[in-house]
Symmetry: C2
Subunit: 314 residues, 2 copies
């Protein structure tokens, strides 16, 4: 038995390990209830261009998560060269309510092109440039009447919900007000949207990528967030962070050590690689070793939202 | 004096070196005439986030090319963090007819986000996903009446025009029919669009990137091109290529050698790095060492087209 599976105890200074599956289950209960109130079952399509590896596992995981809540899900197998047409036919099929694409497919910028070939109204992952623009502009609704909510990208949204479940969310308009956050990853898919979402919620975020750090902070003038250059380094950012989020897909990333972080902080890893040292649990108060199950759940939740946006009830 | 600066002679087997500036001049004559017929001067804006280096040089080059043909051009200096708002204000300014952005700005996927933040109707580089979709779908006009032409990305277009100037273009619907082409680069900005444009024009194109080769071929059913997996390797593709195009931004790319290419082929390098061995001119019939001046000229030509699309005359 892995010692980390032991029930955590505050007495020994061991962090509580937060299981994303348990948090996901609370959301799935809500989702089941909402689904039951729809006039038809939701039908989601997954476009998969790999027959093994993490994408395959993730697609199978989606299938189980969909079955669990009562969503119809079909994996459509494609080659990398037929993925675009598989996406297009799902776009054009009125019977398909949502599309999930398992990346990497080309592993190059061409994947960005593919991401943008998903119809935004079926993009349950919330990765289309259309949704990125809504997010960065802090446009939370699509209509004046505020009945149609904008979709948020599912992994950053999953992380925010885990932050909330970990007890690091306050009340009010800016639940992360006064919080200092350090994020290692500034991809267009997770790290940058997450930094801006957290800044919208009041946090001061230091965002690291291979080229260095940027600060994402709440806007002083209301509305969207601001981004500034910074000379803060890893040591400085980690020393003051209440929340540390890592998503570095590389074995060469120096693991974040207990000696680097603040006592009682929340540590979340969304990379499939290990980004934290084992000793992190001696100093963090909550450790979230993976995010995956919450990501899928947030994608299903997004599909409900998209369905309601396109099938408004009087 | 570099021996390659000597006038080439067919007798000694030395390739003709095709100067893109000379070809550009023939297009600029047409552009000047078209500009003179417009009701107002064209006004283009360049967004530049570097104060030295290749981007800076390229922006200065654009300025000179615009002055040369009588287009108003203004460089708007930005930081990497203010580039997006500089683009947005140029988008919203009705007095600005076209926008050119000098990349890299972030040097990451965030640059793709920036590319897509340029209004397609002002995107004189033709890099927006909107234009990519027109290209890959072989949609050459925006309207049923075929009065509004779609924009093509300026570097691939520049290369096609150089192929034509080199005498490698035939007549008719498919001027590259029967031609075999080998391209080293499959970026979303140059290599992939170029491969598809050449396939539309009838060529069989082997497209290489770091992950291997793909074949772009004319569609057997009309309309768009087809893409296939291939086991052809560099040696096989080069041996049969009538046209070799290189754009590998790396010193570690093994230079294409005379021994690898077909006698009498056309060799074009659009990378700022040297991709061909010096001996290439002993075997090629035409060598084009750089494309830059033609790229800028095609961007200006695109701006004319965009102006006409948005200011149709009765």
């Amino acid at each position: 038995m892995d010692p980390h599976d032991k029930p955590p105890s505050r007495d020994t200074g061991a962090a509580r390990v937060l299981d994303p599956s348990a948090v996901a289950e609370t959301f799935r209960r809500e989702i089941r209830a909402e689904l039951a109130a729809l006039p038809e079952p939701l039908f989601l399509v997954g476009v998969l261009a790999a027959d093994h590896g993490p994408s395959y596992t993730y697609a199978e995981y989606t299938r189980k998560a969909c079955e669990d809540v009562g969503v119809r899900f079909e994996i459509r197998h494609a080659t990398r060269l037929s993925a675009e047409s598989a996406i297009r036919s799902a776009n054009e099929d009125a019977g398909v309510h949502g599309i999930m694409v398992y990346y990497p497919i080309f592993g190059t910028e061409q994947d960005v092109y593919l991401r943008d070939s998903v119809d935004p109204s079926k993009d349950i992952e919330g990765l289309h440039t259309y949704w990125a623009r809504c997010l960065y502009g802090n446009q939370r609704f699509l209509d004046e009447a505020k009945t149609k909510k904008a979709i948020l990208p599912c992994t950053p949204l999953a992380i925010l919900k885990l932050v909330e479940a970990a007890g690091f969310f306050g009340q009010g308009e800016r639940p992360l007000e006064g919080r200092s956050v350090c994020i290692f990853n500034r991809s267009e898919v997770v790290g940058r949207p997450l930094a801006s979402m957290m800044a919208h919620d009041g946090a001061h975020v230091t965002s690291f990528d291979i080229d260095g750090a940027l600060l994402f902070v709440p806007s002083s003038s209301g509305g969207t967030h601001e981004v500034h250059e910074t000379t803060v380094d890893r040591a400085g950012a980690l020393r003051q962070a209440d929340i540390v989020v890592t998503g570095v897909p590389s074995r060469s990333f120096p693991h974040v050590q207990a000696s680097e972080i603040r006592e009682g902080s929340l540590c979340i890893n969304f990379s499939t690689f290990k980004n934290f040292s084992d000793d992190i649990q001696t100093k963090a108060s909550v450790f979230v070793p993976r995010v995956g199950p919450m990501t899928v759940t947030m994608a299903i939740r997004n599909s409900l939202r998209l369905y309601k946006n396109t099938h408004p009830t009087g």
